[in-house]
Symmetry: C3
Subunit: 412 residues, 3 copies
Amino acid sequence: MLNTADILTQLDQRRRNYSLSRDLYCDEGVYQADLENLWYREWVFAIPSCDIPKTGNHATLQIGAYPIVIVRGADGQIRAFHNVCRHRGQRLCPKENGSSPKLVCPYHQWTYDLDGRLLFARDMGADFDASQFSLKPVHVQDRGGLVYVCLAEDPPAFDRLGGFMDDYVGASDLSNAKVAFTSTIVEQGNWKLVIENNRECYHCGGSHPSLCRTYSDNPLMTVMEGPNAASPEILSHWDRCDKAGLAARFVNDPGMQWRFARVPLLNNAESFTMSTKAAVNRRMGTIPWNDAGSLMFYHFPSSWNHFLPDHAIVFRLLPISPTQTEVTSKWLVHKDAVEGKDYDLKALTEVWINTNDEDRRVVEENQKGIRSPAYEPGPYSPNQEEGVIHFVDWYVRTMQDRLSPRPAMAAE
Amino acid sequence: MLNTADILTQLDQRRRNYSLSRDLYCDEGVYQADLENLWYREWVFAIPSCDIPKTGNHATLQIGAYPIVIVRGADGQIRAFHNVCRHRGQRLCPKENGSSPKLVCPYHQWTYDLDGRLLFARDMGADFDASQFSLKPVHVQDRGGLVYVCLAEDPPAFDRLGGFMDDYVGASDLSNAKVAFTSTIVEQGNWKLVIENNRECYHCGGSHPSLCRTYSDNPLMTVMEGPNAASPEILSHWDRCDKAGLAARFVNDPGMQWRFARVPLLNNAESFTMSTKAAVNRRMGTIPWNDAGSLMFYHFPSSWNHFLPDHAIVFRLLPISPTQTEVTSKWLVHKDAVEGKDYDLKALTEVWINTNDEDRRVVEENQKGIRSPAYEPGPYSPNQEEGVIHFVDWYVRTMQDRLSPRPAMAAE
Amino acid sequence: MLNTADILTQLDQRRRNYSLSRDLYCDEGVYQADLENLWYREWVFAIPSCDIPKTGNHATLQIGAYPIVIVRGADGQIRAFHNVCRHRGQRLCPKENGSSPKLVCPYHQWTYDLDGRLLFARDMGADFDASQFSLKPVHVQDRGGLVYVCLAEDPPAFDRLGGFMDDYVGASDLSNAKVAFTSTIVEQGNWKLVIENNRECYHCGGSHPSLCRTYSDNPLMTVMEGPNAASPEILSHWDRCDKAGLAARFVNDPGMQWRFARVPLLNNAESFTMSTKAAVNRRMGTIPWNDAGSLMFYHFPSSWNHFLPDHAIVFRLLPISPTQTEVTSKWLVHKDAVEGKDYDLKALTEVWINTNDEDRRVVEENQKGIRSPAYEPGPYSPNQEEGVIHFVDWYVRTMQDRLSPRPAMAAE
Ligand code: FES
Ligand code: FES
Ligand code: FES
Ligand SMILES: [Fe+3]
Ligand SMILES: [Fe+3]
Ligand SMILES: [Fe+3]
């Protein structure tokens, strides 16, 4: 199990544009460092806000060792708390989704207001001061209908990103959306392998027959920088969107932690369906055409998303162990769309249920090969795997800054 | 993983009347220290002696890393041994219960007498001295029909406790009892959380609809000290028992490692049944009335028990890992009671099968919440959780004494 | 977890002709030392070559952390490689057996020739030098139709052993054999316990009713040295074989790492069947009689084998964890023997499927007993367990040489 100095050495010695060392994908010490320096310090995607539309609705997730609950208050605000009772530490809300006017602990019924205050604790004696036992808050952001949480005491800035979320995701008007379906799978692979898999389409032709009906595996169509600066087809799509007031142009964090861009689907396809046509009989938000393509938004380390004219798919990944990652996908549709009438659930979900499972299989075999001491880092395709390079560069730089004893500023 | 000094620091710094620190419930090093300083040094409840009524009957259990076998000898005596063949270390008796005139190793048939002596080993050569290869004995006590074992070289005193077991449990005459049913479940929680759960009824109203038909969740009825000194109802029950010669009054170890008391059930209920009536058509031992209530006997770290007029339930807990505990419950009835005639097995067992499962669920959620680094110890209810305070005080004090480099006497 | 010095101490202090210490069978550090000093340095049995009879056939196995693939090339040669793609480390061949004209990575379709050269990698840019990304080779030997691999840079000598494999195993002509059936089981026991179990028949009478129909549990019949030097019955069998030109006499490595000998079955039985008659309607290779008995060949640490007139069974063991071992058995018959006509699959396989399972059960109980801190090493029977003594002596001596800081030569 690597210690901080070991990890820093491996980060410092890594070869640029090559995959990472075996330990960085497998080691328990690296996993703990990833949790402490990234997962417990960065903003992490939790849920779309339409997952808890009403007062008293709540949703839970687990970030590393931390159970979290996200609650819609009586004032309509979304708040997040450590999902741990202040009495004897019971997990307060055990289910993924629930609803109740107060948060009542299942063990001894200590009762918390939706804003986290302890309202009632039976038989605790005269000296008991309930005001000292509120639920512990977790930072939360709700922008464009996507809820992010951050476990750090001082979370990183969110304003610039939040502004773009308002603009780009806002066009899908998630406040008038609903969750049509949720899928949760566990991949037997390190979380970084799950992201690397997501950040390239070099594997798509060989892995994703259903996705490839509608999604181009040409990096000119989906990657935006360097050798893949936007192609004429993309540029004309953006011009068209501009005229309709639809935010579409490539915008990114300078460190590539996140990126937005709306791209056309293949051959004027409308949605990620087997038929290539829209799966839902009404569009979301202010998106003007069925062929507006997909707004792609990723955010490291926890999420990628597709916002299509007829539906959106939000993906959340959460690390479980050095070699296990949970991937949750939620399909969102207009809140008034009726299943069986306005959309067929199988047609809506089958392409990405297949795609997720296909990706799971290659990620798991990737982990098995990398576990070999004979594995050595190999070169990324400069053309096809630019997105992977962005990710590993972001990962290595961020970890170096946080693990390094030298002043981070001087080192830039 | 904590070392001894770390553990001692956490024990020394704990806040009285508050739950323990996260590590004390989760850490692998603490678990090993618990095994070495408590489980391998204290008397541990094994079986009711009626589980092995005849010569050659044996029963097995696993205390941490140690497999143990308990055997009824040709002389009627109960002996305990390490369940490990002296040849190549085979687990000698693989099953939970068995019977055979000798103990024959399943691997190469080395054959031991029921008193542990090696009687026969095939083809071991002329120099082989069988007398050097007896089974290794384990200390054993059989008082009042309950068999305890101790792995220590010098076990703690048992005499005072044993005397009370004779008196209190003796009234149920377990020598004329039989095991009607055994249930074994594994709870995904630290053994201390399993005991804490058992030592209070603050959670009963919210968790145990069937038990609460007959068992009072009022601490005045079931806890006996401090703010809950015996209530008038309890005192009058004890007076009635005194007159009938039935040992009933509260008696305890000064350090609260164990306690006996007979308490009435709720509303003159007779037994822990859905009907509130006796489950078995004949009483055990010399208990004079159907409404004699329950003799409650607990002993840390491994057991709690209910001795009712018509049946008894003995509970044994054994640690499996930092976050796993095995709980075995045995329902005992008079040996001449006939299933289907004198009792219905479902009616006899359903209340505590439900109750055990309800407790398992809250214990497992407790473990999940406590695993959070955001967990902090919370206050026990002075009124409702006095029994839990007794347990954690006993635990902390005992571990401090055993882990501490300072002379234990001077520290008192 | 033991370090090197601890392990060496336990090896140095072990008592001769006694089973090993608890840690040597259980400890994670010992397991890692076993992998690094034995499994990654010795020749390990992989497959019979008839498992991959044709160009493009391949088979995979996992030695500790190393996935390996064995391939039949266009030139008919068998080669072995690390089963890890040189791009991003995908396990190249995920299945136990497969066939394809080139080795194509399932992730991004990098394509390797059957000799390991990278032939094609899409879109890797002008600077990419494919010649630098061949599959990494693993040493391989194919003698007498048995394929061994070695992960060491400088493998131990194989010549003397290989010569005997040609002679002894050659008589079964595995080049004209086929795999009729493969069974893979996982035993919950240390790999050394699996070998110890295999190296004695002290347990056979009590464990193997079907095997004992045809295989003698008398060590005079199956062990060849010391107190069990070949019996008259064996000697006359060897004389008969000599005259027919069938290699049969006991031959061994001076350190007992391997041994060959052909022994008659019990009561002129022909094969390991319930009927005691041949299971297959034609003999293999040049074996002249149905009652030629079994050529027994073992090789530490990974294999034992039986070559009978009508079929052969090759056994491969691979360690999975300190307390888990995979055992793969393959039944070989003449390549022209037709299932259902020349042999019945159940009759062919049932005896050793039963025997493997019976051995699995005793090995698992052995591990459970040895896990007890009360376990102490016991004496091996000088008569019955000589083969086990050979194994533990070989193990202890080899580990001492490799772990010891003193020059190995001087210490001999
Ligand atoms: S743990 Fe929540 S009320 Fe007791
Ligand atoms: S291990 Fe018990 S007889 Fe061999
Ligand atoms: S990992 Fe093999 S081709 Fe990419
Ligand atoms: Fe994919
Ligand atoms: Fe309970
Ligand atoms: Fe065997």
